[in-house]
């Protein structure tokens, strides 16, 4: 033990951890709410996706970045970003296949009824933009954090 007296182990603050535990579900719910109501109220896929990413930031700030990264898993981030792109592109290309322009929602009317434009936008907002934004924002954050660590000679 001698010599290690001065190296106090770094502990995360119990108070911050508990506060984040309480707040996180509300932020995530709010993020998803904004995402789902993007077409007709302030907000939308981008803001919602950002809030979903913020939930992960919160956990990372309170519990440490490495454990949070393990908890999230790189698979989820990749899946979100890639899945979002797939949704986006397939909705867009669907209109091309029906003989229109890219993202010309009106062509979905035979399948979705008169509100096709709204539904198309919802699909893009929810399945596309929100997923891409949240996935990318998390991935960027963890990449930046990894950069910090490797500068300090850490094993990432």
């Amino acid at each position: 033990m001698s010599g290690s007296d001065s190296i106090r182990p770094y502990t995360e603050s119990e108070i911050i951890m508990t506060a984040v535990r309480i707040v996180a579900p509300f932020v995530l719910t709010y993020g998803l709410f904004i995402t789902f109501h993007g077409a007709d109220s302030p907000g939308g896929g981008f803001q919602g996706g950002a809030l979903i990413g913020v939930v992960v930031f919160m956990l990372a700030f309170a519990f440490g970045i490495a454990p949070t990264r393990e908890w999230v898993g790189s698979g989820l981030m990749t899946a979100l970003a890639a899945g979002g792109v797939i949704v986006f592109v397939s909705v867009g290309l669907g209109t091309l296949a029906l003989g229109g322009k890219f993202l010309e929602y009106g062509l979905y009317e035979p399948f979705l009824g008169p509100d096709a434009t709204k539904w198309g936008m919802e699909a893009i907002e929810i399945g596309g933009v929100a997923a891409i934004v949240s996935g990318v924002i998390m991935a960027l954050f963890f990449l930046t954090a990894a950069g910090y660590a490797s500068q300090g000679g850490e094993d990432v």
């Binding site: 290690s4 001065s6 190296i7």
Partner: protein, 386 residues
């Protein structure tokens, strides 16, 4: 117990405090490695158990501890070298009042002294007294008592609580309900007031959202450790606590207002440390935040049950030392029976780290260890991790 002599065993002996921890297995393995390398003749695995009666807290720990010790001795025998050291296990402290890491260190030291053991191997993740990381003070307390304390290399420079804890269907359901209600609240309850399209849209998206939120976070926000029935009782008592807290906040805000607007700014800020008699995240957070909200005091740091409180003036410090908030928080979390305990000052759990009283707190029992390293608390620490 009585068959041991006071002389040290010929080959030397190791003492290992044992408790539930994630690195327990590694610690046992490391201990047996040392024992093999140095031909130690005795290894003692000792589990301190607090046996005091505190409100709603689970008490049937003896069986659990015994089975843990059984597991440890099985592991130790697995790892034992050819000329195996004798392995002893013991549950100690069962009749005593164990609160702080110092108390744990005390009974461990007594056990070790009785058997002439000089070396103690500690599990870096072992945290006696609850799920908060309390290890460092216990290690230091043991080192101060003259033992050779070795930390098993399962150690990490960072002590973290677990991000997720096991949870079940009840936790999932509760969080699902909260999330769904919050979602409908944000939507202005059009699920009730709107047309059928609104109803289905809000119902479906709300269900998806609540499912995602609960699925992602039910092990983070809630856990098995939080029993739902207890949670209900605690929330009820919290409802009683909030008006009291608001009253306290307003009362002392008026005091602090006179001080801030006073032309001479009559403040004497000082750092103090209180070893609070609450444990676990929610209770500690409630206490810490209540202390922060009550003007004149600010929770600066938590280390296990130790709260480092910065206070602006003497009456605020007295408030912390007299522990009215602590008692109220104990009432909220552990019930009325647990509320009646001595104040931090009477327990000797209140220390001023600055100012004229810093070095001379006469009647604090566990203080020798605290005062032996006062500069470790205030010194800027800039070591890089190894």
């Amino acid at each position: 117990m009585a068959d041991h002599t006071h002389d040290p065993p010929p080959g030397g002996a190791l003492l290992v405090p044992v408790g539930e921890s994630v690195t327990l297995r590694q610690t046992v393995a490391y201990t047996m490695e040392i024992a093999a390398a140095e031909e130690i003749s005795e290894v003692h695995f000792v589990s301190p158990v607090a046996w005091h009666d505190v409100g709603d807290v689970e008490l049937a720990v003896r069986e659990r501890t015994q089975s843990l010790l059984d597991r440890v001795s099985v592991w130790a025998e697995e790892d034992a070298p050819a000329d195996a050291p004798t392995i002893h296990t013991a549950v100690i402290g069962a009749e005593e009042y164990l609160f702080s890491p110092d108390d744990y260190a005390d009974i461990l030291a007594r056990y070790a002294d009785e058997r002439g053991i000089k070396r103690i191997i500690v599990d870096p993740e072992y945290s006696p007294g609850g799920n908060v990381p309390l290890l460092r003070p216990m290690e230091v307390a043991l080192a101060v008592r003259g033992f050779d304390v070795i930390e098993a290399p399962a150690s990490r420079p960072v002590r973290r609580s677990r991000l997720t804890r096991p949870g079940g269907i009840a936790q999932f359901g509760l969080l699902f309900g909260i999330s769904f209600l919050f979602y409908q609240l944000l939507g202005g309850f059009v699920i009730v007031t709107g047309d059928s399209f609104d109803f289905f849209y809000e119902l479906i998206t709300g269900t998806i959202t609540a499912g995602l939120v609960a699925g992602a976070l039910y092990t983070v926000t809630l856990s098995n450790r939080i029993r739902l029935r207890t949670l209900g009782k605690q929330l009820l008592r919290l409802g009683l606590y909030v008006p009291y807290l608001v009253y306290e906040i307003i009362k002392s805000n008026i005091l602090i207002t006179t001080i801030i607007l006073h032309p001479k700014l009559p403040i004497e800020p000082r750092m103090t440390r209180v070893r609070s008699a609450v444990w676990g995240g929610p209770a500690l957070t409630t206490l810490g935040n209540s202390i922060t909200l009550t003007p004149g005091t600010l929770t600066v740091r938590t280390e296990g049950q130790d709260l480092y409180v910065h206070s602006l003036f003497q009456s605020a410090r007295d408030g912390v030392a007299d522990g009215a908030l602590e008692r109220a928080v104990r009432f909220v979390f552990y019930g009325r029976r647990a509320a009646a305990i001595p104040t931090p000052r009477e327990r000797g759990d209140y220390v001023e780290l600055q100012g004229p009283n810093a070095e001379s707190e006469p009647d604090a029992g566990a203080e020798a260890d605290v005062e032996s390293e006062p500069d470790a608390e205030t010194e800027p620490v800039e070591e890089e991790p190894k």
